[in-house]
Symmetry: C2
Amino acid sequence: MARELTVSIDAMGGDAGPGVVVTAIARSVLRHPLAKFILHGDEAKLKPLFAKRSKLLDRVSIRHAPDRVSMEERPSIALRRGRNTSMWRAIESVKTKEAEVVLSAGNTGALMAMGMFQLGVLDGIARPALAVILPTRRGQVIVLDVGANVQSDAEQLVDFAVMGEAFARAILNLERPSVGLLNVGSEDVKGNDAVKRAAHILRNVSLPMEFSGFVEGDDIAEGSADVIVTDGFTGNIALKTAEGTARLISGYLRGALRRSFLARMGAVLASGALSALRRKLDPRAFGGGVFLGLNGVVVKAHGSTDALGFASALDMAIDVAEAGTINRIIADHATVVSALSTGAAAS
Amino acid sequence: MARELTVSIDAMGGDAGPGVVVTAIARSVLRHPLAKFILHGDEAKLKPLFAKRSKLLDRVSIRHAPDRVSMEERPSIALRRGRNTSMWRAIESVKTKEAEVVLSAGNTGALMAMGMFQLGVLDGIARPALAVILPTRRGQVIVLDVGANVQSDAEQLVDFAVMGEAFARAILNLERPSVGLLNVGSEDVKGNDAVKRAAHILRNVSLPMEFSGFVEGDDIAEGSADVIVTDGFTGNIALKTAEGTARLISGYLRGALRRSFLARMGAVLASGALSALRRKLDPRAFGGGVFLGLNGVVVKAHGSTDALGFASALDMAIDVAEAGTINRIIADHATVVSALSTGAAAS
């Protein structure tokens, strides 16, 4: 990390409670010597967690928030009654520019609603999208939207492509990322109206990306594009299907290696390689999701994450804040708007 | 197999050519001693394949078809010009009741279009759906639609649920299969309008199924329901995402077990277990997809399948034909229609 940076954290989000958050910060301070942390939550629960880690308090400030958003709460209700929650206050620290980025493992819908309400959506972007970074055969892929929206029209898909491309340049350090639109076939004639129209627009605007046209579900793991764009309904289901498949196969592998004496012996010999594989498949290593399109950086850790997972989401939050993603989105989106208004891509 | 049954086969579909089809039949005759086969395709190519297997010709009749549908052809064009293709003729054998089921590894869209045109869609069903059977932690799950349609409204999702339930009873021998609707969350408030309305209808009609409400992407591999219903766009992408993830992890595993001397030794000892795992993950073992909702049984094998994959699709075609799936769909669909018309589920 090159410069000072403050992360605002909702310490009461997620299933595991604030202990996980504090352990994650203890890991993160070593990797990010210039980072500071504002921890929002129940002071009575947070303070004791620092009893044996008082040195951390040089870099962590605790802000009491009397309430919290539950995982089941409807976003609209959380938004209405939630001013005293740790989530609201954590976002507020970004709004007041005390912090550059906010991280929460809490209720995704509430985080999105409060983020939109407090930070606002970038000019011209209709809806934010949730982006994740996944491993592929060739490296990594950014997939969005994985659940911020339940349906998206062509213009929104184009916004997602622009935001994904800007995010890929910022966080994966790619000069000209390739961007694919998720579809049921790679031929032009395939798909619903929204993806067809989005493809037409993307082919005709000049952006710092390589538009790869349509890609299919297996192209996510294949790594056929650096960014894969889809609506939040399909993206959420694809992401969770991939997670479920990975768990299924890990279970098969564990079972297979226990079935016979020879298999158990083999597993002992290969144990180093197998633990490396386990780490590679560990969903905790992939950080969290990032809401793109908000006027501020909001990062979501898995609700069921542990300290390792929260620490990797924290790393991601710091990386995203440092990379200046938002300014790139603003600049690239302006290009699309001007191309569309001059009719370059409208026909 | 309990009774005589004739399978009509498009011998020219798929990437691998008719050799694969004949090898698959040679396997299948042993497992299904009462099955007969009508093979549609280029006689000049098919006849030599039986030179060393002349005994098979007791159970296989070859019908010359001068033309074929290519994998890239648009369905509308194939439909218009395709009367002399092996695919058209293969479906025709079901139409004329010479055969109970048709199998093709060819162009999916053309197969669906020709199936709809020649066989017709069941009364009251708006669109057919493509169903597949996938492995789960607990056994198997039927997922539909995986690509027959690019968008579906609530009524179509309800049709898919009815067809999936009837298919599960017929092919998995379940008396009262559980049926889940794929969504972005399990809470009632989640999702788009189509899934919400479909859930409302399914909760209020009396069918031989256990409606489990909403399920998420990871519930496919988890086996949380016997049948998982979704629109063809999402279903196709989920299926291919699962296939891609499985390939990615198999590749990781192969790589891990080559990385060190100990790992390679371990892999040798565990080789029996690892090949069993490979067979378990082999997508060829999962047969093909079945078009439900047509007035005839149409089974699709993977376009890139080999003899093993085609043989397993052939097994599936015979099972589906024997199970009397269509009559169950007709009966259960009548229940839904009458419930809807009396208003039981309409409010």
